[in-house]
């Protein structure tokens, strides 16, 4: 029995012919439906976060000698963007400890299912903020201070501590996990990129949910709370706002929830919830991938000096460090919020012109096509993250032995010399990743075109400017990697 399930699972991985529900594997179902599951994955993580915050606030000031910077911005970031998101959707949210205290206070319970009535003011989140604009802005704000965050442990420590405070306060005021869904700056891009992921949580039989009156998945049942993410699984079509807390699996009396392995990128073609805030998230992530690779991994003195916060340049342009950094911030905000969307709009307008269609509005095309950038953008981020790990792996070994940068040597790895792993091959890995992203972007872009124009040749005409945009953008990335 178990072995045939496993074979089915393997063949589904290879062929992607069917979706495969990993909950069919007994072991996984037993673990994930156990009430102690989430606590037991969050709690160790909470301890790690505690060490990271303490190290950030009180440890040595040099970034690559402090566990907070190395663990968060190299290890965590790499794992998140290159492995967790593409293969397991928002599984980070399953183990994220930031809403731990808020959720504990709300439920007044760590493990067992208690009363569904949450502690706190239980207000409703304002309708005006029922979108991801706060997250868009929050991410840009973090991006603005990235040169500080990733180099100064104290800034990372303060940011993480602040996230805990904000999450807990918001969860006292508003019901459920509004922090995660609407505020967490990481949540915005996790949602966007999880659309590409090969894992999804869905219901097996929608009709069953429709007829089912008690709906434990939103109201809570004997063994599970109602969805803390304000999601109704019965009609769930996209990963964006499902934080994989798995409460619905525990709560559903019909075992109607499945956790499927599926083809990459399935959600990109879901039309229903496409919106302008997500379109902008797509532009922000796409643009920032370029800016980060250019500024941090490129050689250019001009950009490097812009990104230095406390520094007066010697080349006498009358800059002070303030104007210098304001220019960097301007680069980040204006390019991602205005310049790149404007260029994309021009290409989309060309799409509409070439198709000759009068019915479809500019706005709809603009929003729809913006989703085609997700694979390319995700792959560019992975390409950005690969050298972080391959070049700096020795720092990870160092800080494990000397987490605070105080000269300890707990495991004898504090003095491992810096030596990049096959760095001469990194550009080629980046090229391959980018091309994979381009293939997926073309596939989804054309399907979005088909879905708008129906007619094959119209769809092709309209898609040509999109193809041009994606190829030009790819050439820019290739230039960053090997040019």
């Amino acid at each position: 029995m178990a072995s045939s399930k496993f074979r089915e699972f393997l063949s589904s991985l290879l062929t992607h012919k069917t979706k495969f529900d990993v909950l069919q594997i007994d072991f996984i179902r037993r673990i994930t439906t156990h009430r102690a599951f989430q606590f037991s994955v969050i709690f160790p993580n909470l301890l790690i976060f505690w060490i990271i915050i303490v190290a950030g606030l009180f440890g040595g000031p040099v970034g690559n000698r402090n566990i907070s910077v190395i663990f968060v911005w190299i290890l965590w970031w790499f794992a998140l963007i290159s492995i967790l998101v593409p293969f397991a959707s928002r599984i980070w949210c399953t183990i994220c400890p930031i809403p731990f205290f808020g959720e504990w206070i709300q439920r007044r319970s760590l493990v067992t299912k208690k009363n569904e009535k949450l502690y706190g003011l239980n207000k409703r989140w304002p309708r005006r903020l029922d979108n991801i604009w706060l997250q868009n802005m929050g991410f840009l704000l973090i991006a603005t201070f990235t040169p500080l965050l990733v180099t100064r442990p104290v800034v990372t420590g303060i940011m993480l501590a602040l996230l805990f405070v904000v999450a807990t306060i918001l969860m006292l005021i508003y019901a459920k996990r509004v922090f995660c869904r609407y505020v967490c700056p990481v949540g915005g891009f996790l949602g966007l990129f999880s659309m590409f992921s090969s894992l999804e949580l869905r219901v097996n039989d929608r009709e069953l949910c429709k007829k089912h009156i008690t709906k434990e998945c939103i109201r809570g049942g004997d063994n599970g709370y109602g969805c803390p993410w304000l999601v109704y699984p019965g009609t769930l079509e996209r990963n964006n706002f499902c934080g994989l807390c798995l409460e619905c699996i525990k709560g559903c009396p019909y075992n109607n929830i499945s956790l499927n392995i599926r083809p990459f990128g399935s959600d990109i073609l879901v039309k229903g919830e496409r919106a302008i805030d997500e379109a902008w998230k797509s532009f922000i992530m796409f643009t920032l991938a370029g800016i980060y690779i250019l500024v941090m991994q490129g050689p250019f003195i001009f950009f490097k000096d812009l990104a230095r916060f406390f520094w007066v340049p010697p080349y006498g342009w009358g800059f002070t460090y303030v104007t210098n950094y304001v220019m960097y911030a301007g680069l980040v905000w204006i390019t991602s919020l205005a310049i790149v969307p404007a260029i994309f709009f021009v290409f989309t307008a060309l799409s509409k012109l070439l198709s000759g269609s009068k019915e479809i509005s500019y706005k709809k095309l603009f929003i729809d096509y913006s989703y085609e950038l997700i694979p390319l953008s995700l792959m560019a981020w992975i390409a950005f993250s690969v050298p972080l790990l391959l070049v700096n792996w020795s720092y990870i070994a160092n800080v494990i032995s000397d987490p605070l940068g105080w000269g300890w040597n707990l495991f004898g790895t504090a003095e491992i010399a810096w030596k990049p792993l096959f760095p001469e091959y990194i550009p080629y890995i980046q090229v391959v990743l980018l091309i994979i992203g381009l293939v997926y972007s073309i596939k989804f872009g054309f399907e979005i075109s088909m879905e708008n124009f129906r007619d094959k040749s119209l769809a092709l005409k309209a898609f040509i400017p999109q193809l041009a945009f994606m190829i030009l953008a790819s050439i820019f990335f290739l230039w960053l990697f090997v040019g």
């Binding site: 062929t15 040099v62 399935s266 500024v295 490097k304 990049p420 001469e424 190829i471 290739l478």
Partner: protein, 158 residues
């Protein structure tokens, strides 16, 4: 089925073949070329957190002597793939000679922790052939080819 291209065996085959092509191409690039080219010296100044010049472009086969000094504190001078790792101390000149036998872009990295932005202290050595960066040109060609092929298949599948 919605996601036709994904189930397409031919496309999978094409992706595998192009990956193979890329890997053969990469390994062929890594075979060094020796022989008659220029010899010259490049003076590099390291400072927090950049190198001047920030991009060094040389011809494949050139014999280059780097004379590296620092304008402020101690830095390193590490070149990806060229087995170079110099310690650059204030007031001293560190010298290394390489033959630029491999084409493409190689990052120059600071190998001595020199402050906050140290991990981003990066320069570039670009090895070209007759002014053409073949790695870049071939990457673009492969990207275009792959784009064309995937376009063809998406088109066919509808």
């Amino acid at each position: 089925m919605k996601h036709k291209i994904f189930y397409n065996k031919k496309l999978g085959l094409i992706i595998i073949i192009s990956l193979l092509m890329v890997s053969i191409w990469i390994s062929s690039l890594m075979i060094p070329i020796y022989g008659g080219s220029d010899s010259y010296t490049i003076e590099v100044k390291a400072r927090r957190f950049a190198y001047e010049p920030d991009r060094i472009i040389v011809n494949q086969g050139d014999r280059i002597t780097f004379k590296v000094t620092t304008l402020d504190i101690t830095h390193g001078f590490y070149i990806d793939g060229y087995d170079v790792d110099l310690l650059v101390e204030p007031g001293k000149e560190s010298v290394v000679t390489i033959v630029a036998d491999k084409p493409g872009k190689f990052k120059i990295r600071c190998s001595v922790t020199c402050g906050y932005m140290h991990p981003f202290m990066v320069g570039e050595l670009v090895v070209v052939e007759n002014g053409i960066n073949i790695v870049f040109v071939l990457s673009i060609l492969i990207a275009l080819l792959t784009a064309l092929v995937s376009m063809y298949y998406v088109w066919k599948r509808w």
